[in-house]
């Protein structure tokens, strides 16, 4: 373990911890995982993610892996794709899944909600066009259905179509016949998911134990 830590001294960890809000043991954990995935390299590539066994049967893994290489998720107001990421990026993306603070003001809650929704939105908006257009949406549905294996594309299409239409009617209200719905903008995305307590649910439990207690496959 000491050898692992040598690259990133306590100092860097402390910095990351201040920046991201993760505790030191959590960062150490993530670092261990990072090294494990990257096979002791300093950067992670897409292939490394694809090797994760548990991810293999996740229908939307491609999109999720992309989020780690997407600059929009680094909280720096940049956009574009990375080819490989370092530990800092890795941790920064993970911060989107931190549990919420216990005592938040309503504004903070709303901001957090927007932020988490933005992450989900970016995940689906693969071409960074600002909208989830029908093509992208259909892709999501297809992937979700692909788990069943037996579904033909037609089904996915029809579901995506009707879902899209649903969005259009919810968000745009009455549309004039010559209008057309280009895609789900972020505002509409927020609107259709207003019943979805994303700020309370989008989190995973990061282990607080030291790295040793948490040895993984």
């Amino acid at each position: 373990m000491g050898a692992l830590m040598s690259g990133h001294g306590k100092h860097e960890f402390q910095e990351l911890s201040d920046k991201t809000g993760f505790s030191l043991p959590q960062i150490a954990n993530l670092h261990q995982r990072f090294k494990q995935l990257s096979q002791n390299e300093d950067t992670l590539r897409r292939e490394d993610f694809n090797k994760i066994a548990d991810l293999a049967c996740n229908p939307i893994r491609a999109q999720i892996i992309e989020t780690f290489f997407d600059k929009r998720n680094y909280r720096q107001n940049t956009s574009g794709k990375m080819e490989e990421i370092g530990f800092e990026e890795f941790v920064t993306v993970m911060t989107h899944f931190k549990p919420p603070d216990l005592h938040m003001t309503d504004e903070k809650k709303e901001a957090l909600r927007k932020e988490k929704l933005r992450f989900l939105f970016n995940m689906h908006d693969t071409d960074n066009s600002g909208t989830i257009d029908l093509e992208e949406y259909r892709h999501v549905v297809e992937e979700l259905l692909s788990q069943g294996g037996m579904m033909e594309m037609e089904t996915a299409k029809s579901i995506a179509n009707s879902a899209m239409l649903d969005v259009a009617t919810i968000t745009m209200g009455q549309m004039a016949p010559d209008e057309f719905y280009a895609g789900i903008t972020f505002e509409h995305f927020v609107q259709i998911l207003k019943e979805f307590d994303v700020e309370l649910r989008m989190h995973i439990r990061f282990s607080n134990m030291g790295p040793v207690a948490n040895c993984c496959k």
């Binding site: 993530l30 995982r33 995935l37 994760i52 548990d54 991810l55 996740n58 939307i60 999720i64 780690f68 993970m94 899944f97 549990p99 919420p100 989900l120 689906h124 029908l134 999501v140 549905v141 979700l144 259905l145 788990q147 069943g148 037996m150 579904m151 037609e154 089904t155 299409k157 029809s158 579901i159 179509n161 009707s162 879902a163 239409l165 649903d166 009617t169 919810i170 209200g173 009455q174 549309m175 004039a176 016949p177 010559d178 209008e179 057309f180 719905y181 259709i192 998911l193 019943e195 979805f196 994303v198 309370l200 649910r201 989008m202 989190h203 995973i204 439990r205 282990s207 948490n214 993984c216």
Partner: protein, 901 residues
């Protein structure tokens, strides 16, 4: 009113016991009478007594419920269970007064074997399993630790009070007895919790924690009860250390064994329903029977029956629901809900009646007040301590308000009463005191806490459940979201909740579902099922609201098709058209139009549909105990087709020959009869608006051409586009601002209108006809359809004169001097239409002669009707709408009545 009915009920009950005596005496007398010859009518009260009394009770309780819910104010404040207990008190009092002896008692055997399982079955089968398992940790903690804590503390403290002489000396009980009493009084009761919490509607997490606790603490209660009973039997001094461990082992076996039995029965049930395709009618029976058998089997081995039933329900629900037919699903649901409601009613009434029966209880104020205080205090303390412990691990903590509701929602109920009634008087000397205390505790918790919990919840502003049904988008994102969390856990190398849930889902998919689901169902993805369900639900909603599924489906098409820039529209429309089985509807398009005018519109619609769309009753000598009728849809399609054809013909005749039946409403409000006549004959013309063009222009080209219907693109005579609406203000500066508005901003009006099939009274008939005709022509009827089409065309020539005024009006709009003729002629509706038409002169040009207009050529009109029928499905209704809204055009129509249809 309520009081009167109660009096009446009381009178009935008062009769019952008396007549029971009569029945017995007549029973005795019968043998002597028997020699006397044959009796034509016999009094057989003793034969029917029990079911009769129960039926009457239920009837009274149900009537009381109806009356209770009549008063909105009362039912929003008082929970139903309170009313039932009160009713039971009244009934019990009446019975007691009438017969001087207690006739009916809540019999523990009856309770545990019949009443409790029905309620638990309902709870278990419809348990939201995901929510349940997400909160399984807290639920188990409260159920096990909380119940143990309550039981011990209450028992020990009562013993302490006894030692301190707060409890009277008449209560002969030692420590074991008090512990026993503490065990049975401390368990939160599922029946009471369900009855009260269903009305309070707190948020689902809170509900599932309290309710889950009340269900799962059964194992603890049962074991504690049994252990203490046996300790009381052998005497405290003979209890050995080993016995405590036996008690612990017994707890594990009772709870885990019960769960296991339930899961096994759940699997059996799911497996059996795989093969019931041919015998749909007994599917519900299987469900009910096997769930009940799970309960009985657990009782048989003295395991926790409630746990068994709950897990049977949770385990089988997913597979069974997928396997059985929709009708069976509904049947199971309603049967379970009805039975549970009956059982609940009986339990609460029995509680009331038992309370009036003084013979087996004895009052001790010290015991009662101490018990009340202790159960409240220890419940609150237990909840606070456990929540504190839990919140150290919970990511979303339970806050103070939640804790208050959880403490206050710890209602005791009939389980406690049944358990205390089961005690042996010889072993537990103080049984009578315990019975009285239990009854008071139950009444206090159900009545007082039940009454006050609602205001409390409101006052504390506990987040309430929204009862929101997820949309298709939410379902999609929900699933994507789950997978996202799982993936992130996997990437971070953590094996958290999502990781294991995903593992379980994969296991379920690979093995369990394969084994327990029908092949046809198994192949379908879950999302697809959800999608179907949502569509079905929407369709039902639409129909409930007075819509028409077919029309909704048809009407939605132009709205999509008319957005030509939407790249994938074609597939969508085609898809809907091909698979337009009434399920793939774009129903949300209909939602937003539920405006304030809804009522009158739907009224009109109801009148119309009532007359239009009633398939003839077919006498079908079809009866089978084992099979359901099928092939109904085919018959319906034929029926619809025939109806449409007939309706269409009649409509057309009436139009041509000025039969006024369709326009009675208009006529009533019109002064000049000639106007109405003209209007009447105008109808087909007016049934077009700019909307049509949108629909026709896109829709016809793309999709309709594949239909066998001859689509007449040349129906220009009636296709108007309000392109240059800006012309209008210039032409008619003063007279018709509202009409202008209608014409000027057509998209707003129509896109809202389109989905509403009942918009406009006159047009609706036409809408139905045209739409369904397009959609529902089976291949074998194609020829007939074409024939009738041609016959319609031959019928077509309309009388030319009626069009004159209209045309003149039109001319006037154009700036051509209309002359005196136009004076009273441009009836409101006609005018408005013209507003739309006027800018669109290209097509009408031949029809617009100078003031003395020549007879209108008949063909365009006929064409218009024909062409529009099949092609422009949704449009006609829109025009009539515009008739409704616009005011009379200026001074030309002094009556002003024309604006209303």
């Amino acid at each position: 009113m309520r009081a009167a009915s109660l009096l009446l009920l009381a009178a009935v009950v008062a009769d019952l016991p008396l007549s029971a005596d009569v029945g017995q005496s007549s029973d005795a007398g019968q043998s002597s009478h028997h020699g006397g010859g044959y009796k034509i009518v016999q009094w057989e009260w003793s034969y029917v007594q029990t079911p009769y009394v129960i039926a009457i009770w239920l009837l009274m309780a149900s009537v009381a419920k109806i009356l209770f819910h009549f008063s909105q104010r009362l039912s929003s404040v008082v929970p139903e269970s309170c009313v039932l207990i009160l009713l039971g008190l009244v009934l019990g009092g009446v019975v007691l007064v009438a017969s001087q002896k207690p006739l009916y008692q809540l019999d523990p055997g009856l309770f545990f074997l019949f009443l409790l399982p029905t309620i638990v079955a309902d709870a278990g089968y419809f348990m939201p399993s995901r929510l349940f398992f997400e909160n399984l940790g807290p639920i188990l903690m409260y159920a096990v630790l909380g119940t143990l804590w309550n039981a011990f503390c209450t028992g020990l403290c009562l013993y302490g009070m006894k030692a301190a002489d707060v409890i009277g000396p008449d209560v002969e009980a030692g420590m074991m007895e008090f512990l026993l009493f503490g065990a049975l009084i401390s368990a939160v009761d599922p029946v009471a919790v369900l009855a009260v919490f269903e009305e309070v509607q707190v948020n689902e997490t809170l509900f599932i924690i309290v309710f889950g606790e009340s269900l799962l603490n059964d194992a603890v209660t049962v074991v504690l009860y049994k252990v203490y009973i046996s300790f009381v039997e052998v005497g405290v001094e003979n209890v050995q250390i080993a016995d405590y461990f036996k008690g612990l082992a017994s707890f594990l076996i009772v709870s885990l064994g019960g769960t296991l039995v339930g899961l096994i029965f759940g699997m059996i049930l799911a497996f059996v329903t795989r093969f019931t395709k041919k015998v749909r009618i007994i599917e519900p029976l299987f469900v009910l029977l096997l769930v009940y058998l799970a309960y009985l089997t657990a009782e048989l081995f003295s395991l926790s029956a409630i746990l068994s039933m709950i897990f049977c329900g949770i385990g089988c629900n997913k597979y069974v629901e997928a396997n059985i037919s929709q009708k069976s699903r509904t049947t199971v649901k309603y049967t379970m809900k009805t039975l549970a409601s009956i059982a609940e009613t009986i339990i609460f009434i029995f509680l009331g009646i038992s309370a009036m029966d003084k013979s087996n209880w004895a009052w001790d104020s010290g015991l009662i007040s101490c018990t009340l205080i202790f159960i409240l205090v220890f419940r609150a303390m237990g909840v606070i301590m456990q929540t504190w412990l839990l919140n150290r691990f919970r990511l979303v903590p339970l806050d103070g308000i939640d804790q208050v509701v959880m403490s206050y929602g710890g209602l005791r109920g009939a389980v406690a009463f049944a358990l205390v009634a089961l005690l042996d008087q010889d072993q537990v000397k103080a049984k009578d005191y315990f019975v009285a205390t239990t009854i008071v505790v139950i009444f206090f918790t159900v009545m007082f806490q039940g009454l006050t919990i609602k205001p409390l919840v409101k006052w504390l502003k506990v987040p309430q459940s929204t009862n929101h049904k997820p949309t298709i988008n939410e379902e999609i994102h929900e699933r994507a979201f789950d997978h996202t969390l799982t993936a992130v856990e996997d990437i971070a190398g953590l094996s958290g909740y999502h990781h294991w849930r995903d593992k379980w889902e994969q296991f379920d998919k690979k093995f369990l579902s394969k084994l327990l689901m029908r092949k046809s169902v198994y192949r379908k993805a879950e999302l697809w099922e959800v999608y179907q369900k949502i569509n079905l639900r929407n369709a039902i909603t639409i129909i409930d609201q007075g819509g028409n599924v077919f029309s909704a489906a048809r009407l939605s098409l132009p709205s999509i098709a008319s957005r030509p820039s939407f790249p994938e529209v074609r597939d969508m429309t085609n898809y809907l058209r091909e698979n337009g089985s009434g399920v793939c509807l774009d129903l949300p398009a209909v939602y937003p139009v539920l405006g304030p005018t809804m009522d009158e519109e739907s009224e009109t619609h109801n009148v119309l549909t009532g007359n239009l769309y009633k398939p003839r009753q077919r006498v079908q000598a079809h009866y089978s105990r084992h099979f359901m009728t099928t092939g109904e849809s085919e018959r319906q399609e034929r029926e619809v087709f025939q109806r449409n054809m007939r309706g269409r013909l009649e409509l057309f005749k009436s139009t041509c020959y000025r039969s006024k039946s369709r326009h009675r409403k208009i006529q009533k409000r019109r002064k000049g009869s000639d106007i109405s006549e003209r209007d009447g004959s105008d109808k087909p013309m007016r049934k077009v608006s700019w909307q049509d063009t949108a629909a026709v222009a896109v829709d016809c080209e793309e999709g309709k051409s594949e239909k066998a219907e001859p689509v007449k693109e040349g129906d220009g005579g009636i296709t108007f586009v309000a392109r240059e609406s800006d012309e209008l203000p210039r032409e008619r500066p003063r007279s018709v601002p509202a009409a202008l508005e209608v014409c000027g901003s057509p998209p707003v009006v129509t896109s809202g209108e389109r989905p509403l099939p009942w918009k406009g009274s006159g047009g609706a008939l036409f809408v139905c006809v045209s739409m369904e005709a397009t959609k529902l022509i089976p291949v074998d009827l194609q020829q007939a359809w074409n024939q009738s089409m041609s016959s319609l065309e031959s019928l077509a020539p309309p009388p030319p004169e009626p069009l004159h005024p209209r045309v003149t009006a039109l001319c006037r709009e154009e700036g051509v001097p209309a002359g005196g003729r136009g004076g009273g002629a441009g009836g409101g509706p006609g005018r408005k239409q013209e507003g739309a038409q006027s800018p669109e002169q290209q097509e009408m040009q031949p029809l617009l002669p100078p003031p003395p207009p020549p007879p209108l050529p008949p063909v365009p009109l006929a064409q218009g009707m024909e062409g529009r029928g099949p092609s422009c499905s949704g449009s006609p209704c829109i025009i009539t709408r515009s008739l409704v809204t616009a005011p009379p055009p200026g001074g030309e129509e002094p009556s002003g009545g024309t604006t209303q249809l």
